[in-house]
């Protein structure tokens, strides 16, 4: 653990000079013959920003881990855990510092494998093994099918594995190759980052990993996917607008669906994992605005979008790390993270409750904490995108804006649910006890919480740090304009800090006034405040079981969004004069898992079983178990059945509707496939000629 802490500190120190000013790229070539290249390490602004993120979070996790592992694992092999953490740390630093494709991939693979062993640390439990396998397989598919081909094409074009050679080579590629490269990067790095629908490993791996590892997975490993995507964008010339819009749509889907699934979860850590999907969506939203700005030739817009994304990378590492560590303290204290079993922890572990509240307020993007600062920059970039009419004349950023607002509202609902149910009210399950949180865990969480508050209250000091990382990303644009755009990033933050200071002062002032008023009223009446039971409509003995549950709290929103979520509800309602046991179960199975991966892998399993039967003669293969067979029909199946039955019913309106829908789809296809933009006269002409040709 000491090693991890030292490495973290060193990475912060190394990142320092690049954040304060732009120094030239420093590189170290180790003449160590790799099979296909040399071990070339380099530091630039982008690397420095990610090193800073790694350093802050890893240092706090290093302080936190020993106390946590003592409490949870007892006599588990702590040495192995420490060694693996050090290895993970080393591979993370290698990934961001590598300036050579082969070295990058070596670091990438090492990071994935060490994280696998850490996720599977409690491997005696079957669900841990399952989560770890899903993690390993999903990530390897992402790497093998998408990241490797991506580097193969790039290095093949460049004739070298050096990163510095990839940029000039990418400039010579034609448009369709660039789009293919971007899509490969999006799929490969998106799997690591947890963008929907490649996110399924996150909710599987996060809840089963030891909590410090979950914090690192969510705060840092996922960010390596973002780093990969950003690094790819530094090599590619400005991409067609279509790519930016594609990324924007993917990030909006990730964001909204991620937070909706989070709302439906019953386990704190699983819920936090889905929130990572949401926040990666927010980061990707910033990147997509950056890309749209680049393809439209607006350096100021591009810089603002990328800066928002980078700021959110660090901010998310801070508050999500804090939330995971705090959830770990809940697990450490009570032995469970099942939301419905907990309650009233604010009374028993007040410090931890405060830490979770700071994290929850930050992740909802509320002022005066750090989440607000980066979301504010991303909002500003989206507004700027609407103003300049980039991305389908401003419609795409407008969609991003409204989705970001919706995500904010849903995240607030979700964290009101978690904090309200887990920490407030009364304990729901009498068996669950709560041990106090060890001091070292409190210190680690305190570090992250102070980070969240400092960034939130003094944004003017924080925003300039992101300038050199952002300039790496917009280097392909005219340098004079870039210089101006980069300088303009932190300008409004100084203005932002004024109202935030006002807010902090007003809170302090109101607390003081309230004290004075209380003292005055007490002197007036000579009575102190009274403490009684909670009002329950004159019922004198309210019990903990009468509290509102987390599922009830979330249910009105989940019902409102059922068209997106397809929640599964099993209700045995009380019936008769003397009702016997009744029960209610609600789940929201992941739509990507059910409708995309299960049929895909189920089909593959059946195919392999057939091949095996053929080759071995008669031996029947293992039957793939598919959750969709459980009887509750999924959205796709319901939709198809509905369509078939509507067609069978034979009413003329339904058939007309089908014809109209088909026509609309054809027109959309026509508009997309024509090389010019939708609104240009050329595309109208081509539609017209197509129509006249059909006429006899």
């Amino acid at each position: 653990m000491l090693g991890v802490f030292a490495a973290a500190m060193m990475s912060i120190v190394a990142a320092g000079p690049w954040l304060s000013g732009s120094s030239p790229i420093e590189s170290a070539v180790i003449s160590w013959p790799l099979p296909l290249g040399t071990a070339h390490l380099a530091l630039d602004g982008l690397t420095a920003w990610f090193l800073l993120t790694i350093g802050i979070l890893a240092a706090c996790v290093a302080v936190y881990s020993p106390a946590y592992m003592e409490g949870i694992a007892g006599r588990a092999p702590a040495a192995a855990f420490g060694a693996l953490m050090c290895a993970l740390m080393a591979s993370l630093i290698l990934v961001v510092c590598a300036a050579d494709a082969v070295l990058f991939l070596v670091g990438w693979e090492a990071m994935m494998l060490t994280a696998f062993f850490l996720v599977a640390f409690h491997h005696d439990l079957p669900e841990v093994r399952r989560g770890a396998w899903i993690y390993l397989i999903a990530n390897h598919i992402g790497t093998a099918l998408f990241v490797l081909p991506l580097f193969a094409v790039l290095t093949g074009g460049a004739g070298s594995t050096e990163f510095s050679a990839l940029g000039p080579a990418a400039g010579t590629f034609n448009r369709s190759t660039l789009i293919v490269l971007f899509v490969l990067g999006l799929l490969g790095f998106g799997t690591k980052a947890g963008l929907m629908p490649m996110h399924i490993w996150l909710p599987a791996a996060h809840p089963v990993a030891p909590t410090p590892v979950s914090a690192l997975l969510s705060g840092l490993l996922v960010k390596m996917g973002i780093y990969g995507l950003l690094r790819l964008l530094t090599w590619l010339p400005p991409l067609p607008t279509f790519c930016g819009i594609l990324l924007l749509i993917v990030s909006v889907v990730s964001g909204v669906m991620g937070v909706l699934y989070a709302l439906a979860q019953h386990d704190v850590k699983r819920l936090l994992a889905y929130h990572t999907v949401e926040n990666v969506g927010i980061i990707a939203l910033g990147i997509s605005v950056g890309m749209l700005g680049q393809s439209a030739g607006h350096p100021a817009l591009a810089a603002l979008g990328y800066a928002g994304a980078l700021l959110h990378v660090t901010n998310h590492a801070l508050f999500k790390g804090l939330l995971f560590l705090s959830a770990g303290a809940v697990l450490h204290g009570t032995g469970t993270t099942a939301i419905e079993r907990l309650g009233g922890l604010a009374k028993r572990t007040p410090v931890n409750a405060f830490m979770f509240l700071v994290g929850a307020t930050a992740i909802c993007g509320l002022p005066p904490l750090n989440g607000f600062v980066s979301e504010w920059v991303i909002y500003s970039s989206l507004f700027a995108g609407v103003f300049r009419g980039v991305g389908a004349s401003g419609a795409a950023p407008a969609l991003g804006l409204v989705s970001l607002a919706l995500m904010g509202g849903l995240a607030l609902a979700c964290f009101a649910k978690v904090f309200g149910v887990v920490f407030l009210g009364q304990p729901r399950d009498a068996i669950v006890s709560a041990h106090p949180t060890p001091v070292r865990m409190k210190i680690a969480m305190g570090g992250l919480a102070i980070g969240c508050m400092l960034i939130g209250i003094f944004p003017g000091q924080w925003l300039p740090l992101v300038q050199s990382a952002t300039s790496e990303l917009v280097r392909s644009m005219p340098p004079a304009e870039v210089e101006l755009a980069i300088r303009s990033i932190p300008a409004p933050a100084a203005e932002l800090s004024k109202p935030i200071a006002v807010f902090v002062l007003v809170v302090i002032g109101l607390v003081l006034i309230r004290r004075r008023v209380r003292a005055w009223a007490t002197a007036l009446h000579r009575t102190a405040s009274r403490v009684v039971a909670t009002w329950s409509c004159a019922y004198a003995e309210p019990t903990a079981r009468m509290q509102y549950t987390a599922s009830s709290f979330a249910s009105s929103l989940i019902v409102s969004f059922r068209a997106l979520l397809w929640p599964h509800r099993e209700l045995v309602s009380p019936a008769g004069t003397f009702p016997v046991a009744s029960h209610l179960e609600t789940h929201a199975p992941d739509i990507a898992e059910r409708e995309l991966f299960e049929p895909l892998f189920g089909g593959l399993a059946r195919l392999f079983a057939m091949v095996r039967t053929l080759s071995l003669g008669g031996e029947s293969g293992a039957k793939p178990d598919i959750a969709a067979e459980s009887g509750h029909p999924g959205p796709v199946r319901t939709l198809l059945l509905g369509l078939v039955s509507a067609l069978r019913s034979g009413s003329i309106q339904v058939r007309l509707a089908f014809i109209v829908v088909t026509l609309v789809l054809l027109l959309v296809f026509e508009a997309i496939s024509s090389p010019t933009a939708v609104n240009s006269p050329a595309s109208h002409k081509s539609v017209d000629t197509a129509a006249t040709e059909v006429k006899p």
Binding site: L366, F419, V421, H525, S536
Partner: protein, 311 residues
């Protein structure tokens, strides 16, 4: 900011801080008029606040510091928002480019802490109210942001005082259809966010049907005074956003502008009173439809503005 502006800000701030309870009175008087009653005295809300402040508070034994902090954070968030929103005059004290986002999130911060304070009691009624509050809050947020997009695109600004000042008056000449839709959406958001009929009924006496009132069931004494005052302040702030959008004053009005704005706020309170007297509260599962309606109105407005700009 000029010295004159700073000097003028003092009386404006005093009026702004003193005004909110009076508007509650206007609503109450209007409703009384409609039901043929005289209604409480004009200054009744101030008497109520004074009475509450000196009362000895009663706390539930389940509650923690969150319960006592909730109302204070909510009020502080609204007071901070009041420095950014143009209320009486057409500019704001601390306005800056991008302040609309801060204003929306300050409202959200207030909601978060109100909801947490309610959940701190462990009461199922308050949990219910909290759940409804976050549900409806989530649904009104997209409508509010889409309205902001329309105003921002129309005036090319991200600063509330510029988005609603005289720049908007010129826009009414060219983009009136979109702005009418925005005003409609903002009115629905106002009714939902300030918990008025048809979304919530502040006069109801049944815990099961309440939203805002039920969250304050266990709050008493000074805390309840803070909550009541904050609700009135929120009405003034959201009402000002609505009025500055609907009726942008030309700068030539000088000192008459703020006076006129006060009259308009009273008229808005009257309008809310009339709506409360004429309509019944919606069934709770119909409220999302209303808020979705507001979102649709503002989306159409966005489409109108964006296409209008392209042409």
């Amino acid at each position: 900011m000029s010295i004159l502006r700073a000097v003028l800000a003092v009386p404006e701030a005093i009026v702004l801080l003193a005004l909110p309870p009076l508007l509650l009175s206007v609503i109450a008087k209007t409703k009384a008029k409609f039901s043929g009653r005289v209604g409480p005295p004009w200054l009744q809300p101030y008497f109520d606040l004074y009475k509450l402040i000196q009362k000895t508070p009663v706390y539930s034994r389940t509650t923690t510091w969150v319960f006592r902090t909730g109302p204070i954070v909510n009020l502080a968030a609204l007071l901070t928002a009041a420095t950014l929103i143009p209320v009486l005059s057409s500019d704001s004290l601390l306005g800056f480019s991008g302040d609309i986002i801060l204003v929306a999130y300050l409202f959200a911060l207030g909601r978060m802490f109100t909801v947490l304070a309610a959940m701190d009691t462990g009461s199922s009624f308050e949990g219910m109210g909290a759940s409804r509050e976050v549900t409806f809050g989530t649904m009104s947020e997209p409508a509010l942001f889409l309205s902001f997009v329309v105003l921002a695109v129309a005036t090319k600004s991200l600063q509330l005082s510029q988005m609603m000042g005289s720049g908007l008056a010129a826009e009414w000449q060219v983009a009136a259809p979109a702005l009418v839709l925005v005003v409609g959406a903002l009115l629905i958001v106002l009714l939902a966010e300030t918990c008025r009929v048809p979304v919530d009924d502040p006069a109801t006496h049944l815990e099961l049907t309440m939203i805002h009132e039920v969250m304050a069931l266990d709050h008493s004494g000074p805390e309840f005074a803070v909550i009541t005052y904050a609700a009135a302040l929120k009405f003034v702030l959201l009402g000002s956003i609505l009025l500055h959008t609907a009726i942008p004053h030309p700068p030539s009005l000088y000192f008459l502008g703020p006076m006129l704005r006060m009259v308009e706020l009273a008229a808005l309170a009257c309008l809310v009173g009339i709506i409360e007297s004429m309509t019944a509260r919606l069934r709770l599962n119909r409220v999302p439809m209303l808020l979705a309606g507001a979102t649709v109105l503002s989306s159409i407005a966005v489409v109108l503005v964006l296409t209008g700009r392209m042409a």
